[in-house]
């Protein structure tokens, strides 16, 4: 804090004497006069020549921003971003936006406009370093004394101002030293403020980290923990400790098939393909073959697998004479129950689809070994309906 004289204060005992003092000194000091009082003295601003406050304009601007913001935001949400019908009303139901528009207008006008605008923008507070705050007179001013202050630059100025104030009726005077630069004084609690900011940031980071554990807290399990029965889980309610009940003896699945055969050869003797080889069945069979069989038996059924060489199994070539001669029932049984390393598909593919696949295998067998008559017939069909082949070719 510098030792330069900054203000000379004359303390008056009541508001009337202060007003007389202002009138006495106004012609000499003009703009350099300021009054410090424990409460607002009405009419003093005219004596000191203080212009009318423009806080009202700030409040108006903020109020209008609040109005625009709230009306615009609600309109945007309900007409553009989030169109939801409420009670059959139009998206832009301005009347029901009014309460929130009003509240936001008042909020911005009051807090940002009147409070922040008046304190910070207009009055330049907080200002902890103003020299008058550490003067002897300050406790008297906030209690019951009325100070008239003259801004001075030099010690001679100060002496002259003190004399003038005494002449105007101030029984007590004080010269205040320093400057009114904001932030230079000892009263700005920089360290505590900084410490608070750091603690807030750390707390924020800590919370952000902890929120991953949030859902795991027993209190906040977001309904993960429930006493209901889930399939394939342990459950203490039943004596056997399982959630699922055993089936009643003799229960039969609605889609169960009854197989009378035990070997493919036997099935070949017993079963007849129930489907006729029409184009729908063949399309179905082709689809089933390409889904389930193709990866091992190959596109053409010749046993060239699409699998990696690490798979050492040798899928059968469906064009070998044994399989060409085998009856449909034989192929059906192999598809159903599997053979060697091949798994059975009885559980995955419905019986009708397996019969369709058998039909399609017959098509492959015949196509790879086609006679001239077959080729001519196929060309005739292709010429009549060029796209009849369809599929992926």
């Amino acid at each position: 804090m510098s030792d330069r004289p900054f203000l000379v204060l004359g303390l008056f005992q009541d508001a009337d004497k202060l007003v007389h003092g202002i009138r006495a000194l106004k012609s000499t000091y003009g703009d350099k006069l300021e009054a410090y009082t424990p409460y607002p003295i009405h009419g003093i601003e005219k004596e000191l020549g203080i212009p009318k406050s423009h806080v009202g304009k700030i409040v108006l601007a903020l109020g209008l921003s609040g109005l625009t913001l709230a009306l615009g935001f609600q309109s945007w949400v309900f007409t553009t971003d989030y169109q939801i019908q409420f009670g059959g009303k139009p998206y832009f139901s301005w009347a029901s936006f009014v309460p929130i528009v009003f509240e936001v207008t008042v909020l911005l006008a009051c807090i940002v406009g009147a409070v922040f605008g008046m304190l910070v923008l207009v009055n330049k507070l907080p200002h902890y370093s103003h020299p008058i705050l550490s003067s002897r007179s300050m406790p008297k001013i906030t209690r019951d004394r009325f100070a008239l202050a003259v801004s001075v630059d030099t010690a001679e100025d100060a002496a002259r101002a003190e004399a003038a104030l005494r002449q105007a009726g101030a029984p007590e005077t004080e010269v205040v030293h320093g400057t009114d630069e904001i932030g230079s004084g000892p009263l700005l609690p920089l360290k505590p403020v900084l410490a608070t900011v750091i603690i807030c940031v750390l707390a924020g980071l800590g919370t952000w980290h902890l929120q991953r554990l949030w859902n795991k807290l027993p209190l906040i399990s977001i309904m993960d923990e429930q006493t209901k029965v889930l399939p394939f889980r342990a459950n203490a309610f039943y004596p056997d400790g399982q959630s699922m009940r055993p089936l009643v003896p003799g229960t039969v699945s609605r889609s169960a098939e009854y197989a009378a055969w035990t070997t493919p050869e036997e099935a070949g003797q017993m079963l007849v393909n129930p489907l006729s080889a029409d184009s729908l069945t063949l399309a179905k069979g082709r689809r089933g073959y390409e889904t389930h069989c193709l990866v091992c038996h190959g596109q053409l059924g010749d046993g060239t697998k699409l699998l990696s060489d690490k798979y050492t199994g040798a899928p059968a070539n469906l064009h070998q004479a044994r399989l060409k001669e085998a009856p449909d029932g034989h192929l059906f049984a192999v598809v159903t129950a599997g053979k060697n390393t091949m798994a059975g598909y009885g559980k995955d593919i419905p019986a009708a689809d397996r019969w369709a696949i058998v039909h399609y295998v017959r098509v492959l067998q015949r196509a790879l070994d086609a006679s001239d008559a077959d080729v001519q017939a196929a060309q005739a069909v292709a010429a009549a309906a060029p796209v009849a082949q369809g599929g992926s070719h």
Binding site: G63, A109, A114, H130, I220
Partner: protein
């Protein structure tokens, strides 16, 4: 009555008793902040904070078990939670009414009681705000009440009165808090300059923002204060109007009435003033402020209670008239059931507390009797709680089909949480009364005789 007696009756009453100097105001108001609290204060604080902790513990229990521990159930899904919310928000209306509306009407007697009433507003809204937060069941999602961009791609329903409520109550709380703080700044500067301890000096110094009472600052300060009062006036009227929309925009018979907004606002002012009287009766005596908060002040408050109580009584009558005149059988039934059904005891408690007892304030002797006004203010507090309970429980408990009829019974948890909010409220009042000036000294000093320059130095 003689000519002089009439003049004495209508002339403005002095705002303080006897000759009070500017410094003496400070000495009286700041004395509690500068002395050790008496034993009574500690006993009271122990009691209220124990009550508050009980409430918090039961709120914790509610979070753990879910709101099934409350009495709310089909068909009365709004029980004590919303009753207490509306009750506390209503009490919170006196502060801003006193500080804003009476300020605009230049009612200078308000200066002595405004600070305490504003503090009560803030504490009451804190109590009220607990309920919406905890009644949602999963309070850690209470922030879903606010519109913010989220991964769900959803916005809140701006057409819903429940969303308006969130904006109204939070705006009201924020504005009340800052209105209170702005009024406190000059007094905080006084406290800073009086403080002897290092901690007090630092805290009051930081909070007073370096206020130095400059005339240029006062000019802007007064302008801003007037604007705040002007904006807080429609705000205070809007808050309970919007709270009443929670009921009035629904189609429940007994709720769906256009009289609700003004009726709720009058009821809020009524209950708020009653609570202010209840608290002031003690504060002015125990803190030896009865020369600043005078019997005249209390009498004016009782007149406000009489007026708003009569408005509320009119509204009760008008509701019945409209139920009959409107000719809707369901509505007609709800009101007859209210007065004669299973909740008739609650209804008639409400009517006697709110309509009958405040009428005693027509007598000057009763208006000026501390004991009488204390008892009547307690009756009004009880009656206004029952008003909200009656509106909620009686309108809901008999659904459209007799198979869906029920009877609401609160549980011990309901009662404990409600008691806990009283604990919170009075704990805050007790702490406030020893840490901050309970009277706005700068405002009070400004209206003392001779405080303003005038012809001959003194003017009224």
């Amino acid at each position: 009555m003689s000519h002089e007696a009439v003049l004495a009756e209508i002339r403005p009453k002095p705002l303080v008793v006897g000759e009070v100097s500017l410094g003496a105001v400070d000495d009286a108001v700041y004395a509690p902040m500068e002395s050790k609290p008496p034993m009574v204060w500690w006993v009271a604080l122990a009691f209220t904070s124990a009550l508050m902790l009980l409430g918090f513990a039961l709120i914790g229990y509610t979070f753990y078990e879910g709101i099934g521990v409350w009495g709310n159930n089909d068909p009365v899904f709004w029980g004590w939670d919303i009753t207490n919310f509306v009750f506390w928000v209503g009490i919170g209306h006196a502060g801003t009414l006193i500080s804003a509306v009476l300020f605009l009407f230049r009612q200078r007697w308000r200066n002595a009681i405004a600070r305490l009433a504003e503090a009560m507003t803030i504490f009451a809204v804190m109590c009220a705000a607990i309920y919406p937060a905890i009644h949602v069941g999963r309070p850690w999602f209470a922030f879903w009440l606010f519109p913010y961009p989220n991964q769900r791609g959803m916005w809140i329903n701006f057409n819903s009165p429940l969303a308006w409520d969130v904006f109204a109550v939070s705006t009201y709380f924020t504005v009340s808090l800052f209105f209170w703080y702005v009024g406190l700044i000059p007094d905080l500067a006084s406290a800073r300059d009086r403080a002897t301890g290092k901690v007090q000096k630092a805290v009051f110094g930081a909070l007073s923002l370096g206020w130095r009472g400059a005339a240029r600052h006062w000019t802007h300060y007064e302008k801003a204060y007037m604007i705040l009062a002007g904006l807080a006036t429609p705000l205070v009227l809007s808050v309970h109007s919007i709270v009443s929309f929670d009921f009035a925009t629904s189609v429940i018979p007994g709720w769906h009435t256009t009289i609700f907004p003004p009726y709720f606002v009058a009821g809020a002012v009524f209950s708020g003033f009653a609570m202010v009287v209840t608290v002031l009766v003690f504060v002015r005596k125990i803190m030896r402020l009865d020369h600043l908060i005078t019997l005249d002040h209390m009498e004016v408050m009782n007149k406000v209670i009489l007026t708003t109580g009569s408005i509320v009584g009119y509204a009760y009558g008008m509701e019945f008239f409209i139920a009959w005149y409107g000719g809707v059988p369901a509505e007609h039934y709800v009101f007859m059931n209210r007065a004669t059904g299973p909740y008739a005891w609650a209804y008639w408690t409400m009517v006697s507390c709110n309509v009958i007892f405040p009428q005693l304030f027509w007598f000057r002797k009763i208006r000026r009797s501390i004991v009488a006004m204390f008892i009547i203010s307690i009756f009004v507090n009880i009656g206004m709680w029952f008003e909200r309970f009656v509106i909620i429980a009686t309108s809901l408990h008999r659904d459209y089909l007799p198979s869906a009829w029920g009877y609401f019974r609160p549980t011990l948890v309901d009662m404990g949480i409600f008691a806990g909010t009283f604990g919170l409220f009075f704990t805050m009042i007790l702490l406030f009364s020893r840490t901050l000036p309970v009277i706005a000294t700068a405002e009070l000093k400004a209206v003392l005789p001779g405080a303003q320059p005038g012809h001959g130095g003194h003017h009224e």
